[in-house]
Symmetry: T
């Protein structure tokens, strides 16, 4: 593990349900093109409001993945 | 949209259930007097502990709303 | 309340389900040895990814408890 | 001056032209209802993009004004 | 306590004597119009200098108060 | 809008004229290869000095764009 | 001094009088069980309000002490 | 270039016109006594308000210059 | 006032008595060589501990002064 | 140089030996696919521990490179 | 791994040689009483100067270790 | 020691070898004109890249020294 190199990308996902759902949606779409994702960190939690209620959650994460040889 | 002016206020809501619930409770009470709320950002997530368990979640948000003409 | 002294410790808990679950697991284990816990603050929210999905949430909190006489 | 008390509010203004224009638009609308504004601090500078170009600048400021007796 | 919603406002008070005095002066003036203030946090401590000496202390606080039903 | 996923990239543009010009130059070059850019945030404003004058402004932005299906 | 190892703990003390008093109360109680305390840093200054006045100051410090052999 | 040592100083300039103008005024006055200035970074952007309008912009920069042998 | 340029320096003063005293001692010594000091901001509050008690307070401030023509 | 546009990416490299080695390993792998790298900034320094000793250093950097025409 | 709970402590180590050496000395002394240390993060890098030269490096780390059942 | 006043200056040194070397080079040049330097803190660690390799390390420190009577 000591010789791995990781790259981090920043993604924002949305969900009408929950913070966890917004993270899952971001990872789900990213996983189509990015392989070997290892960890994420939540760096911003926001949301849009319509009629005084949460319309959807919008969560920004940094995702680390292994750079392959 | 380019000629809107927004004001942001800082609110703290509570919930015995979840972080999302605390945000919803804050917005619910604020919506009685504040109109045209557009977005929020979570700026602090805390909680109170009783008997070694989470008694309630306490989440602070900044809420942006449109200043009307 | 004005003559209490509190100490804060930093803990990281995990959960396959939710952010709230990770906090609860951290408090549950800590409560075996730490008494008089009063509040917590979430200071980092991370997670591990396996096969493009969240394997578990990993949440770091600071926990304040009363120093007894 | 040593006995004044100031209150700070947080505003976001927009302009298709410049950062300075966005600040001026925020102050212009706020001055209709807020008196005795004394200073501001820029706390966030953002913008919206349409067709690969800046559609408008969006600048958030904190504005301090004197609380009157 | 778990169903309270709090609002936070940002105030700057001054005193020729001390940091504590500047906070007290800010709260004293705010208490004329704001009810149910519960806590404050110091977010900036500054001062003005005249003839090489502190002319007055200028302390900015965020004040939380209960939103009534 | 609640089912969009955004990616953010970090760019630094330069201009001999203004902060706004440096942002525009960064977006102009990026728009050749990045589609669906939606917003940016200024995260650093610097400049180079020659002969005691601003030679050019150098502004770093984070740019969010929609990940297409 | 170059071969010492220090540990830092985080404490919150209270005082009805002053910021300095809250720090002293925290150190006074900690000194019963922690030896060889060397320095502290103030990391948060808060207070509780009752009837529009400061009921007590609540100051959080990090305290460094020497780990003995 | 690898054997240069730089010193950084912190300056605040003002302008009735623009953020860029405030930076230029700070550099213009500093260049009378400081030689070999190489770069700057904007660390604070503020302004004074008179009659509800921006009276002048006040921008704080850190300026790096080469320490000569 | 709009054409003034200020320089800021960083000083640390000490006092066996109080935070305010540490600031005053820093300004008192600086005033021997620095003229036209206008304001300060507290950026760090620390202290040394001897025998479980505060031996002296150590406060770091940034001081702004006018650059003369 | 005033018309260059740079992109920044975030990488994490590892080394059993040193912080400098972890940065070099990150750059070495990245240089296979990224051309025209110009500078880096260290944003996080961590490490893994095995048997009470540093198993490897893990350093995160942001790397700026020129966007070619 | 998803059911582990970690505690983090903050340590400062010193070395006349290097940043890495200061971290190793901190871990070496801590390992006498703390078991199951897993990772660390560097949070502050300082040093003492004597006769214009680095007398010793002083590095503060946060160390995470597994709380055993 | 309680009656000392310190001033802090910000320096950037470079080295082709190491972070420690960059700090030493900054202190070495500063010591020609600044007396009574006591401590430093690393506030930024950067580097320049040539041909995919570290050309030199560039470390910014704040240095505290005693103001003499």
């Amino acid at each position: 593990m000591s010789d791995h190199v990781y790259k981090q990308i920043k993604l924002t996902g949305s969900s009408t349900d929950s913070i966890e759902g917004a993270v899952k949606n971001a990872l789900s779409k990213a996983s189509r093109s990015v392989k070997h994702m290892r960890w994420f960190q939540v760096v911003d939690t926001r949301g849009h409001i319509e009629n005084g209620q949460v319309a959807h959650w919008q969560v920004t994460i940094e995702v680390g993945f292994t750079l392959e040889d």
